[in-house]
Assembly symmetry: C2
Homo-oligomer: 404 residues x 2
């Protein structure tokens, strides 16, 4: 039940119906491939005759290919199977972290063709400069008709994932505390140097996009979920009905700086007891040392020691888990997502996190459904950030057309 925005709407034209149905078909093939035209018609509850021109367009465009026919178990003509062609289009994926920047090339199916990691330059201009040198070198090897491996690939653009707040529309980095950058026009600077379109997004949203666009629906459990990234900072990417929740000025999801305990530890943002100050990696390390743990460089180290039986480490992580769970409970009360993904180094100790998180959820939420919200660890957030960068580029290909 959506109200039409009378200051920003899209009228339907002659081709709108076709645009809508074409995307439905594309997504159905993506989800159920390999699949026949007849099966698509049944799922869409339309006549088979509609599928003929729709599929023809997708095949002509190169988005879909006819696979072999299936050994039919029943009588009748064997169906012609269809599948999406994800290896035709590739995207440059750039994941900027505090220490290292990953540059990768991946196709729209999320398969990484090449990857390299370099230290993150200290300034935005140095970053752009570095990328302007390395990215073309990377793409030259895999893109174009004369790629060494013979595959003919098209470069669709670049996705840039940043640790910090980003205004997706203007392409500006509003504030990246871990890098110390503020109000930088990074997207356009890079786009100008590379000569093609660049899309920018923050890390938790990118991870959420990777889940949304590059994972079959059957595995994601719905189109409403939250991706919580726990590392130095704590950020959230919220997805509601298949769409990222961005907020009026593109800063929705800054749950990391919701103050959950006024008497808690101070946060980098100036307040006390922010979620990030309670369960971010800095907080975990500080608590570990306060408990008398031997000097540790990183949360990964604490996790290793916990698994090796270090009591202080176990207690520390258990306590962090409770703080994580309380924040998740707040998020569940506010958003009621269908599922929560948790990413970050600390999730390597999921067997220690699982219990306290669930306990906090049960204690702090109001309905049985909310208490039962699945919380799933993301074992490989670095990978998801890279895939998120790909999703930034690939999403428009698969997204529903805007109507109304």
């Amino acid at each position: 039940m959506r109200k039409i925005n009378t200051r920003n709407f899209r009228v339907a034209t002659r081709s709108t119906t076709r645009d809508v149905n074409r995307q439905i078909v594309l997504n159905l093939i993506r989800e159920h491939q390999p699949i026949s035209r007849a099966e698509l018609a049944r799922r869409m509850e339309v006549s088979r005759s509609l599928l003929t021109p729709l599929v023809r367009e997708l095949v002509t465009r190169g988005a879909v290919v006819e696979g072999g026919t299936l050994r039919a178990p029943q009588r009748g003509r064997r169906p012609t199977l269809l599948r999406v062609r994800t290896n035709r289009h590739v995207a440059v994926a750039i994941d900027v972290r505090q220490q290292r920047t990953t540059i990768a090339l991946a196709d729209f199916g999320g398969h990484v063709l090449a990857r390299e990691a370099v230290p993150t330059p200290g300034t935005p201009t140095a970053l752009v400069e570095m990328l302007a040198q390395r990215v073309p070198a990377l793409t030259a090897l895999h893109v174009g008709a004369d790629a060494p491996d013979g595959e003919e690939r098209t470069l669709a653009g670049a996705g840039l994932v940043m640790p910090g707040m980003v205004d997706r529309r203007t392409g500006r980095v509003l504030y990246a505390p871990r890098l110390g950058w503020r109000d930088v026009d990074l997207r356009d600077l890079l786009a100008e140097r590379l000569g093609y379109k660049v899309r920018i997004e923050n890390a938790p949203i990118a991870c959420a996009l990777a889940r949304l666009w590059l994972t079959p629906d059957g595995l994601t459990g719905g189109h409403s979920f939250a991706y919580v990234s726990i590392s130095d900072g704590v950020g959230v990417g919220l997805v509601n009905r298949g769409e990222v929740l961005r907020g009026e000025t593109h800063t929705a999801g800054e749950f990391g700086h919701v103050a959950l305990d006024r008497s808690g530890p101070p946060c980098v943002c100036g307040k006390r007891g922010c979620w990030e100050a309670l369960c971010g990696d800095g907080a975990t390390l500080a608590r570990y040392h306060a408990r008398g743990g031997a000097p540790a460089e990183s949360v990964e180290e604490v996790v290793r020691r916990a698994r090796a039986g270090d009591g202080a480490a176990v207690e520390t992580i258990t306590e962090t888990a409770t703080h994580i769970g309380r924040g998740l409970a707040a998020m569940v009360s506010a958003f009621n997502p269908g599922r929560i993904y948790v990413g970050g180094e600390i999730t390597a100790a999921w067997e220690l996190l699982d219990g306290p998180i669930r306990r906090a959820l049960v204690e702090d939420t109001l309905t049985d459904a909310a208490r039962a919200t699945p919380v799933v660890p993301d074992r490989n957030p670095a990978e998801y950030r890279v895939l998120g960068a790909v999703a930034l580029v690939a999403a428009p290909t698969y997204a529903a057309p805007r109507v109304g």
Copy 2:
């Protein structure tokens, strides 16, 4: 950029384009009435010829009427002006509160034709019984071809606004703490007795719906906002891009039970320091008494005394305002709404609330845009709950058709 849900989608048919454009026209007329076909064509950037059949359908259906022509300031044929006909359809609006239940009849423009208030019965069955008696008596006077005032009106259904958590889809009241009701199939019970469709929603969402559907866009400041209801309980209705955010199991917006201060006062839900426990009416009264204020029955009384110069009352309300502001800051960080409406008895003392709320927002949020989020008092929340009940019934008439 929405992903198509492959398990729940709508294919476009021959009539989809028309359906979409008809609703766009209807909404444009609603927003800009009186308006001519030519002006509509310009705003939609389509040919004037399209408006002829579109408007004809709306006029035939009775949704739109041709008004008089305008005294044209410029040359040429005078435009035929169009306006929506909101007085044709009426809705029964039922607002259930802890003490009193309001039954009203209003047209789709939000104009109340009749209204009565009765004590709220103690049980769901008694409520349904009471409504089954009174509602038909009310509608008989104003609905049908032989209404006493001669207007021919159609009853479109009933809207039921409840204090508590509601699953809109199943129509069940999940939990209404102030009434002590749990898991009641209220919507269907009432629908069966009344013999027509009943839609149910909780109070804050209803107020948000009233803002969204029954106020011109020009006055609402966007399609993304939050309505915060502060009375005995604290609830929030969230609207994102013209659509209410409901969450996976229809419990999104339960911000009242986000714990903002672990060492705060106990809450009815069992936790400590929930937003509701910090700034709900009960918390305000308790704090007033702790400050040595004379016994007071209600927050309205405290507000009156504050305005009369009672120092303890002023301090109490100022402190409540700070708690309100901190909760709003959390909400702004999480959702980043374009505007926040605040409803509740305490808003009568807005001149005392304004400052501390803004101060807390400035202190507790991260970006200038977030700090500048407009916070607007709703002077008449009782009215908005009733209008919200109307909006529940009226919304499908004006909503964008689901596509994709």
